[in-house]
Structure formats: C-alpha cells, structure tokens
C-alpha cells in the first residue's frame, strides 16, 4: 500500500464521506422517530434540533469530502453558518409561543425564567 498514491486518498475521502452521510441520515431518522413518539412540545423540539445542527454538519462534511472543490465547500460552510444563526432563533420563538399559549405546563419546568420574573 503506497501512501503517496493519490488514488488511495480519494478512496479514503469517499469512504469517510459515506460514513458522515450515514451518520447525518441516522440523526435525521432519529428526529423523525422522536417527533412522532415524544409526548409533549418541548420533548419534540429537543428531538428536532438533532438534524438541524449536528446532522446537517455531518452531512455537509460528507458532501464536502466527496466533492473536494473549494467553491462548494465555501457554500456548504455558508449553509452551516445560516443554520447555526437561524435555528436557535426559530426554536426560541416556538418555545416562547408554546409557553404563552399554555401548551407547556409550568409545573414540568425546572427553570422557568418566563413566569418567575418577579423573584
């Protein structure tokens, strides 16, 4: 096995890309299972965040390893940055709307910064 041979590194990158894609797809699948099986809104939100951040990063690393071109990698990094900026905001909005419309029971919360403001 000759490590100076570029074909070996192409094969290694392809196999690593396949592994990353599979991990990302598995996280997406786990989000699907969680969103159906979990009992309440906050638990489901917890499941949804998996493919939004870690799953997306794993899959896009896989795509970058497979494409191996700098313009594509730049745009994939842009996708990750957008997702990291937007998904916390969206989750915050959904969670706050759930609390305000009484879909989240305050008794179940360990820390409740929304209703404990008077303390």
């Amino acid at each position: 096995m000759n490590l100076d041979d570029p074909d070996i590194w192409v094969a290694v990158a392809d196999v690593a890309a396949a592994v990353f894609l599979l991990l990302g797809a598995f996280l997406t699948f786990s989000a699907g299972v969680g969103v159906v099986r979990f009992p309440n809104l906050l638990a489901r939100m917890h499941a949804v965040t998996k493919p939004q951040v870690l799953g997306l990063i794993l899959m896009l690393v896989g795509v970058a390893l497979r494409l191996r071109s700098w313009p594509a990698v730049t745009m994939l990094a842009l996708v990750v940055v957008f997702q990291l900026l937007t998904s916390p905001v969206a989750a915050h909005m959904v969670g706050r709307a759930g609390l305000r419309t009484r879909k989240v029971s305050p008794d179940e919360l360990e820390v409740d910064d929304y209703t404990d403001k008077a303390d």
Binding site: D14, A25, T28, L41, M93, T101
Partner: protein
C-alpha cells in the same frame, strides 16, 4: 455497487422514513406549534436528501438549494410561531357531524329563548300586569 452507492441508498431510506414520520406528526398535531416543528423536520429531510444527491452524483449545482432551504425553513417557523400560534380551543380538531348538529341546535335554542324573553318583555311593557295576574304574564291582550 461502490461504497458511496450503498451509503447513499441507506441514507436515502433513512431520510425517507424520517420524512414519513414527520408527515405523521404534521397530520396529528395536536397544536400548530407541533406542526411547525414537524415541518422543521421535513425541511431537514429535504436538505439531507439534496445533500445525499449532491454527494452521490458529485454535482455542485444543487448546493445553492441548501442555502435557500436553510433560510426558508427559518422564515416559515418564525412566521407561524409569531402570528399563527394562538388558536381557539375549538379549532384544534375537526368536529364530527353529530357535534356540529348539537352545537347548531344549542345555538338555535339560545336564540329562540332570547326572542321569547324579548317578546315577554315587550308584552309586559305595553300592558302592565294586573294585580291578580300571579304569573306576571301580562294576561291575554
């Protein structure tokens, strides 16, 4: 079949299963916010499917779609959480035919009772009840 072919097949199956489960939650609800987060999962599956396709065929044309999707999904969930999260209790689910009929009957009964009360009040106002009129009906006019 190459390593990438096998991985792409398995990943596609997993992503399709996730999309089906997200649609199940999208149908069940029960609230608008549950549907919002199910829609987030659906967006994630679309992003994953486009990524798998790009990795499998080694094409870079579909990468801009990922940029657009990551922004559109954000706008969708924020818009729903901000403007459509408050929903009346009665609109959570579709009512059955019997429930609609019962509610309509109750509404009609309430309307008739109100009309009857108005009629009695008018009668009482125009003809003052006689002292011997015990039930306060105002008697025959």
């Amino acid at each position: 079949m190459s390593v990438m072919g096998i991985a792409a097949t398995v990943a596609t199956v997993l992503i399709a299963a996730a999309a089906v489960l997200a649609i199940v939650r999208l149908e069940r609800g029960p609230s608008m916010l549950d549907r919002t987060i199910a829609f987030d999962v659906l967006t994630s599956t679309i992003v994953g499917a486009v990524a798998v396709e790009a990795a499998w065929s080694r094409r870079t044309e579909s990468i801009p779609i990922l940029v657009v999707l990551s922004l559109v999904g954000f706008i969708g969930s924020v818009a729903i959480a901000r403007f459509a999260a408050v929903e009346p209790e009665s609109e959570r689910r579709i009512r059955t035919r019997e429930e609609v009929a019962a509610e309509n009957a109750a509404e009609i009964a309430a309307l008739e009772a109100e009309l009857e009360a108005q009629r009695r009040a008018r009668r009482r106002g125009s003809v003052p009840p006689r002292p011997d009129d015990a039930d306060g009906e105002g008697g025959a006019v």
